[in-house]
Symmetry: C2
Subunit: 381 residues, 2 copies
């Protein structure tokens, strides 16, 4: 078995993630913020430490860490909350995931918002001159950018886009599902209002724990309601953070795993992990270039990428191609990868692509098995 | 350390929950429904099996199992969706948790709904004659009942209430956070439209995985949007179940733990676990009755209960009392337990109570340590 679906979820995790998750949950599996006894305070200590590790890794000591079960729920909370707060004109990158575009589509259909794609050139450059022109025509209220495309791995120049967005008074949101803990980013910048992270992707933690960072200056009405183990008599959600957005029981088993992965990343350093993943992406590109039946999509020299590569296979739909890899024990992700708009932009809609994605932990064995499978596919063509 | 906060989260879990969660996630930690390679199909197999186990345990083969990260999110999805669908008159039991009442409060404040409490007598009997009268005065659109109160453990006669509710055409929702897998229940009845379960409470699974069962006949617009790894070109949520309500990456580590706990419960049988928990609740009540400074609240002979007991302590606020237990290593939950309306009904608002809750796995050691602590507290009074 070879694993090239790290953009869906990273696998394997660093060993301490599995072992700490297990040992912490066995020994300290209490309910956070739901009592003041030892189990609960130990759990609270772990959660506080995990928040601090995220702030440290993202260089944003002054931003509030909110845990959510998934990045999708975090995006719903921020986008729906911003629309409730009055955002009407929304700009997105051409590479947004359905976790963003399906939320927006709902409110677009209701006639509550307009959605415009930021100008990106055919050579995959965000065109700041044209974006300024777009902003002059329709003033942005909310600007949403996927830090890295989950289809082609292209990293967006978030600092430039958000700097410009702030000139127009927009609220800014960066979706770091494919970059948190991997692409060193100064989330502490005042131009970043919200940054969403997915615990189980580049942060190398388990499923079931994600979240977002928010600037202390933004106002976000909650869209989900429930118990917070705090201020219980109040039938409104409490105003205090993070409780205002953390209703229900926190996934303490997940937080334990994320805590271990954050400590592991800190020890390795983000710089080293990004370098390692870039080497593996390069190795993947070189391997793929040996096969004439494969065409890589959206890879332009000189641009910045994470370890995601999309390709087309001569004479095969991406779905059939996906099955051919699966039969040979190679995990890839075929089709639209939940990002139809990205494929429209790239000209690969509606068939999509075959996506292969690496992490710093992708091994020689994965590459060897992929090479064998590609040789095999080539021989049968 | 003695653990009497099982109503917040059960602890410990059966050993297979920890061990299977660890081994499955280490060896098969792929992303469900996001590819057709071996890791993903193994994960999908586990998820399908887990859905079947829930249907079997709840006697509802024809109801759809939807996984959500928490019961609170499940309740938000159902209640907000029902209100979007036109529910205006909502009835609740007097024992609802903030996961229900804070959601309703939001829409009540907007003037979109009215909320009425079902008639329950001082002797804690649901008064079906008066409830029929209530329904005649204001016809119910949505009836929500906590199957067991998280404050006093009282089990509600859901079959009777929902039978009557259906005569008036109401949609019905039972919150089984404190009863799923513990109180044998026929969720397959046509009168039950929605049943919410919390994986980490009476189902003895880990945090981060919960969900609901829904009747195939109800119409529920989604309130959260995102990728489903399926029908990606469609910018609306797909109509197919469970995908319509399962956006984002499923917590496969959590599902593995829940799968193990469901198999464990099936082996033990619900009947035996309820009997065991009832014996432990009785033992707790007998122990507490030895101390004059304690007064148990809401315990009426002849009514059905789960292993939750609330009490007042002479001369002490419940918060101070909670600290006194915590200092002695006893985990209890003091205050309003996220259920202020239940305390208003019981006459223990706003100070709340000290809640002690057992599970079938509460041990002799827990009881011995509780006795020592109570002796100690008595000596100091």
């Amino acid at each position: 078995m070879a694993y090239f679906d790290n953009a869906a979820t990273t696998y394997p995790k660093p060993d301490p993630v599995y072992s700490f998750m297990d040992s912490f949950y066995r020994n300290h599996g209490g309910s956070v913020g739901r009592g003041d006894y030892a189990l609960a305070t130990t759990a609270k200590g772990l959660v506080d430490e995990t928040r601090n590790l995220i702030q440290e890794l993202m260089h944003c000591p002054a931003k509030q860490v909110i845990f959510t079960p998934t990045a999708t729920i975090a995006l719903n909370m921020i986008i729906q909350g911003a629309i409730v707060s009055g955002a009407r004109s929304v700009y997105i990158s051409p590479f947004e995931h359905n976790a963003v575009t399906r939320v927006l589509h709902h409110f677009e259909q209701l006639g509550q918002i307009t959605v415009t794609e930021l100008a990106v050139s055919e050579s995959l450059e965000y065109d700041m001159v044209r974006i300024r022109y777009q902003f002059d025509v329709i003033r942005p209220n909310l600007v949403i950018v996927s830090h890295a495309s989950n289809v082609i791995g292209l990293v967006a120049p978030v600092e430039d886009i958000f700097g410009l967005s702030k000139e127009y008074g927009a609220v800014t949101l960066v979706d770091m599902a494919q970059t948190a803990g991997l692409v060193d980013s100064n989330v502490g910048l005042e131009t970043v209002d919200y940054a969403v992270f997915a615990g189980h992707k580049t942060l190398l933690g388990p499923t079931g724990i994600s979240g977002f960072l928010m600037s202390p200056t933004v106002n976000l009405p909650p869209i989900l309601y429930g118990g917070t183990g705090f201020d219980s008599a109040n039938q409104n959600m409490p105003d205090s953070l993070p409780e205002k957005y953390e209703m229900g029981t926190l996934n303490i088993a997940g937080v334990a795993g994320l805590n271990a992965s954050l400590r592991w990343i800190k020890g390795q350093t983000i710089e080293r992990l990004y370098k390692e993943e870039t080497i593996k992406r390069q190795r993947l590109l070189e391997l793929l270039s040996d096969y004439d039946f494969l065409t890589v999509v959206g890879n332009v020299d000189g641009r910045k990428y994470v370890g995601i590569v999309s390709c087309l296979i001569d004479g095969l739909s991406s779905d059939s191609a996906g099955s051919i890899f699966a039969e040979r024990g190679i995990s890839v992700r075929a089709g639209l990868q939940c990002a139809p708009k990205a494929h429209k932009f790239l000209g690969t809609y509606p068939a999509g692509t075959v996506r292969l994605s690496v992490s710093a932990l992708t091994g020689d064995k994965d590459f060897d098995e992929l090479k064998d499978a590609l040789d095999d596919i080539e021989a049968e063509m």
